[in-house]
């Protein structure tokens, strides 16, 4: 690997993946500097049900990671400081980091609150090399935000993401197109995008553990075994990815809008289930109206105390943005899951199969919805002005 000490010749792309190190915990350490150097677990107070959203590196040394249950985390790391998430702070810090990234490239794609891709192809007028650009970027984030990040530089998004995880925290690693297959070969297949536990198990049954094992299989063999996914696996194993870095304002319309709620204590109370569905329907309906999208399909997510999860969807006669219609369908879907006597852990409502709402939308909508629309508009206006908690439906609650 040459380390990207110079710019590759066109038409080769240069993509960076910027991954903030233990982001939520690092922000909390900034806000409360006495926490620095101590194990910090973000997700909730000790003893409550839930999972860690982030553990800092001091806590990771005890085996605590994202998604570790808080109960387990307390056993693994009894001296840890448990902190409730301050999502407002993380979102604002994230926004400021993206502003910094925009100084280094106009093509910035935030992938989540703590990671982003940059296409820095053609920035040779401003920086001596991709490596020099990454060093300057890391320094800007360190100086202005007092946070560290790990950066991967590569010819595409897949490889850039894999490269950023090479030397965490505060790492920098560059991959050039030459030698990519050799670099990938000894790595476990789970390091590839989209290879989760199920695919890993399926590959393991075929004796495939390393990416190199995957590289040895032909495209046809993988397609025979995995269908269309085999086609993708064949490319991933060779580090091929044509995905573009897509800035947020150029993204296509969202495919689904969903909200879910985990009960503090598993509930067998139908009144609470329906109150929760009402609150969730209200939230997804409002988001669909804000996006100017009407949904044709409503899907219920239903998880019982034994962690069995069902998703159950149904299409409506007409696309809707009405919480009443969505709530009605969600209740019907819940009934069809035959929940009586069960203890429910989680409920979720998801909308999909969208069409844009135009000025004629109300004329085409279900006549029974029109009487609600004036109330809905007024409620939306109040929430736009005073916040989403300013007004709500009687009976809608989570717990």
């Amino acid at each position: 690997m040459g380390g990207m000490k110079s710019w590759p010749e066109a038409p080769r792309r240069v993509v960076m993946h910027v991954d903030m190190d233990a982001f939520f915990a690092a922000v909390e350490e900034n806000l409360l500097p006495v926490l620095r150097g101590k194990p910090v677990i973000v997700g909730g107070p000790r003893g409550v049900r839930g999972v860690a959203s982030t553990a800092n590196y001091a806590a990771r040394a005890y085996g605590v990671h994202s998604a570790t249950s808080l109960t387990k985390a307390a056993q693994l790391c009894p001296d840890a400081h448990f902190i409730s998430s301050s999502f407002g702070a993380y979102a604002d810090y994230s926004r400021r980091i993206v502003e910094i990234l925009h100084r280094f490239s106009p093509k910035v794609e935030p992938a989540s609150v703590d990671e982003a891709y940059l296409d820095v192809t053609g920035m040779e007028r401003h920086f001596e090399s991709p490596w020099a650009l990454a060093v300057a970027l890391k320094k800007a984030i360190q100086v202005e935000m007092d946070l560290t990040c790990s950066v991967g530089i590569a010819p595409n998004k897949l490889l850039a993401k894999m490269a950023s995880s090479q030397y965490k925290p505060d790492g920098l690693f560059a991959l050039e197109a030459e030698g990519v297959e050799e670099w990938l070969a000894p790595q476990p297949v789970r390091n590839l995008w989209g290879v989760g536990a199920k695919t890993e198990d399926a590959l393991e049954r075929l004796g495939i553990r390393k990416i190199g094992d995957l590289q040895a299989l032909s495209r046809e063999a993988l397609i025979r075994r995995f269908g269309k996914w085999g086609h993708v696996l064949h490319d991933l194993a060779r580090g091929k990815d044509n995905g573009s870095v897509v800035p947020k304002d150029e993204r296509p319309t969202e495919k689904s809008i969903s909200h879910e709620h985990t009960f503090g204590v598993d509930s067998d109370d139908p009144v609470l289930w329906h109150a929760t569905l009402l609150a969730l329907s209200d939230r997804v309906a409002r988001r669909s109206r804000q996006s100017g999208l009407a949904a044709k399909t409503v899907t219920l997510k239903f998880r019982t105390s034994d962690f069995v999860t069902r998703t159950h969807g149904h299409s409506l006669e007409r696309p809707t943005t009405s919480e009443n219609t969505i709530f009605g369908m969600a209740c019907r879907l819940l009934d069809e899951c035959q929940p009586d006597g069960k203890f429910v852990r989680l409920l979720g409502v998801s909308l999909s199969n969208f069409t844009a709402v135009d000025t004629q939308g109300e004329l085409l909508a279900d006549p029974s919805e029109s009487k609600d629309s004036e109330v809905t508009r007024t409620v939306d206006q109040i929430r736009d002005r005073f916040g989403s908690d300013a007004i709500g439906r009687l009976g809608a609650r989570y717990s």
């Binding site: 806000l31 409360l32 107070p45 409730s84 407002g88 002005r385 916040g387």
Partner: protein
């Protein structure tokens, strides 16, 4: 922290706060409390920024030694400005200023 009545800039004032939740950790002695507690704050407006200088909470004035973090959240059309800060006695607080109601609150307090 002592609970002593002390004026912020002259008049005495007492605010009764409500603790909404707490993260007391008996094992380590570390503690934070989440609050929604009205507070009087003396602020400097400088270079377009809001800089809390001191505040009175539960009758006691705390002088701000360092602002360790600041961020904004939306509340409808208005914004809420949040400040993480340390007073001169190394106590840590989080304050929030709601632009719509022009009111300050203590939202978190940390006691080591």
């Amino acid at each position: 922290m002592r609970a002593v009545q002390e004026p912020l800039f002259g008049a005495h004032f007492t605010s009764e706060g409500e603790i909404t939740s707490s993260g007391h950790d008996a094992a380590t002695g570390a503690m934070y409390q989440e609050l929604n507690d009205p507070v009087d704050v003396l602020v400097l407006f400088e270079d377009g920024a809001l800089k809390p200088q001191r505040f009175r909470w539960k009758g006691r004035v705390h002088r701000v030694a360092q602002v360790t973090g600041r961020w904004k959240t939306d509340k409808g059309a208005a914004q809420v400005r949040h400040f993480a800060l340390m007073d001169e006695e190394a106590n840590f607080f989080q304050l929030a200023y709601d632009e719509h109601s022009a009111a300050w609150k203590v939202t978190r307090v940390w006691v080591e």
